[in-house]
Amino acid sequence: MPMGTFDFYANVLIPALNHGLWISVKIIVPSSLLGIAIGILVGAGRALGNAWLTRVLNAYVALFRGTPLVVQLMMWFYGLPSLSLWLEKNFGPGAAPVADLFRLSPYAASVIAFAMCSGAYQSEYIRGALLSIKRGQFLAALSLGFTKSQAFWSVTLPVALRRALPGCGNEIVYLIKYSSLAMLVTMNELTGETKAIASLYFRHLECYLLTALYYLALVTLATVFLRRLEKALSVPGERID
């Protein structure tokens, strides 16, 4: 099937990449938002929780930072269903509702894997920022009659989030790039699409070069957006490092 270069780009590669891009965005956006939410909760728990909670959360972070993301992704998608089989074998059909929970779709497995891993990293930034805030502002809020949770939400957290933002932004940039791993669990996202087209038409160089440009554009867009956000949230008179 001979095909002109223009035809190949216009009718094959670009439509496929655009489709893949859309899937990638559908993975990246929810997993980065979930990652931030997990990061805030886990980071706050680690910075302010009791010894017991801190230990549990530290273990989560150590586990997810200390193992390759590919391995985690494989566990979520291929590993968990074995657990379902085991449950059904040992507890009969009654266990089916629980067992079914462990059979994740490729999409769910990707989002969960990325969010859990990203959350572990995000919690590091949030925790560091929370610890860097002097206890004085919290104390001042209590002295004015704030409850502890009011003081946390309206004083400590807004200051901490501003400080954590550059680090959290970096983590989102990483997430954009490692979202390409989703192709390993059969997702036809940007990299998955590229691989299929490249091997079908045997035009690897062009395909991967163009894909690289797509990622570069995504990362640039995210970076610009995060810069703007930092600027909009920056407090006059404070240094922006």
Binding site: G136, Q137, G145, F146, T147, S154, V159, R162, P236, E238
Partner: protein
């Protein structure tokens, strides 16, 4: 709680009774008692590490005392329990050595936020009240500035405005001028003097002995978690008193080259 219309009960406005506190196995406060009448200003001085800040935090129940109790207008803090202690706290304004302004809020919002969150006052009213309080401490025109854009003296005045906006019955001031450059101390002391002359009840930790001795009827000297001496400044600061207070004050007055009894509050 009492209704605002009923007359204030007799007796001191603030009564601290036998307050003890240990932290990390160390006894920081050892059965401290003191009382302040309405409109009175008392000064707490003493060597660093003596427990002054701990005492103020215990009076405010930011730190719960191990023993003893604090009565404000006859109301026991202990009997308020954990749930209602916040309404007790609202009636006590606290000023910290390093201001503790909310970094992410403008001067006006620093004052308004507690009105909104704690007193549930609508935003517009809260901002208006904040503007008035800032004017009271001489900061008209600085409403939109953030803490990082203010001088130390201005920051401390914002923190005073923030406390005043809650209509406290009494103010606790923990070394309000210790973190300030010398040329900025006067503006803060002036505000404190105005408040005192306006009838505000205050307990103030300070090393500005000269300033304090002109405003206060009584100096309390605190050391090793205990109030060991108390009395009118003329008595305690007189050389003839042979007091620990005199000894302590003259030591660091030598450094600043002033005689404890001579320094006057800055004139305006």
């Amino acid at each position: 709680m009492r209704t605002p219309s009923s007359p204030p009960p007799p007796g001191p406005l603030l009564n601290v009774v036998g307050v003890s506190k240990s932290l990390g196995g160390k006894l920081l406060l050892d059965r401290v008692s003191l009382s302040l009448n309405r409109g009175e200003l008392k000064v707490l001085i003493g060597p660093s590490g003596g427990g002054k800040s701990t005492l103020l935090q215990c009076i405010h129940f930011l730190l719960a005392p191990d023993e003893g109790d604090v009565f404000l207008d006859g109301v026991s803090a202990r009997e308020m329990g954990k749930k209602n202690i916040r309404s007790f706290r609202q009636e006590i304004g606290m000023i910290f050595q390093d201001f503790n302004l909310f970094d992410h809020l403008s001067a006006q919002n620093n004052v308004a936020i507690a009105l909104r969150r704690v007193k549930k006052i609508p935003k517009k009213e809260a901002l208006e009240r904040a503007r008035l309080e800032l004017r009271r401490v001489g900061l008209s025109g600085k409403e939109e500035l953030y803490p990082a854009q203010l001088s130390g003296g201005q920051k401390q005045r914002v923190s005073i405005a923030r406390a005043l906006a809650m209509d406290p019955k009494i103010m606790l001031l923990d070394e309000p001028t210790s973190a300030l450059d010398p040329e900025l101390i006067g503006e803060v002391l002036n505000v404190i003097q105005d408040l005192s002359e306006g009838g505000m009840t205050m307990l103030m930790v300070t090393h500005q002995v000269g300033f304090a001795s002109h405003l206060t009827e009584e100096i309390l000297f605190m050391e090793n978690g205990r109030i060991t001496e108390s009395g009118p400044p003329a008595l305690l600061l007189g050389e003839a008193s042979r007091s620990r207070t005199y000894e302590f004050c003259s030591k660091f007055m030598e450094i600043s080259g002033r005689d404890p009894a001579a320094a006057r509050p800055s004139s305006k």
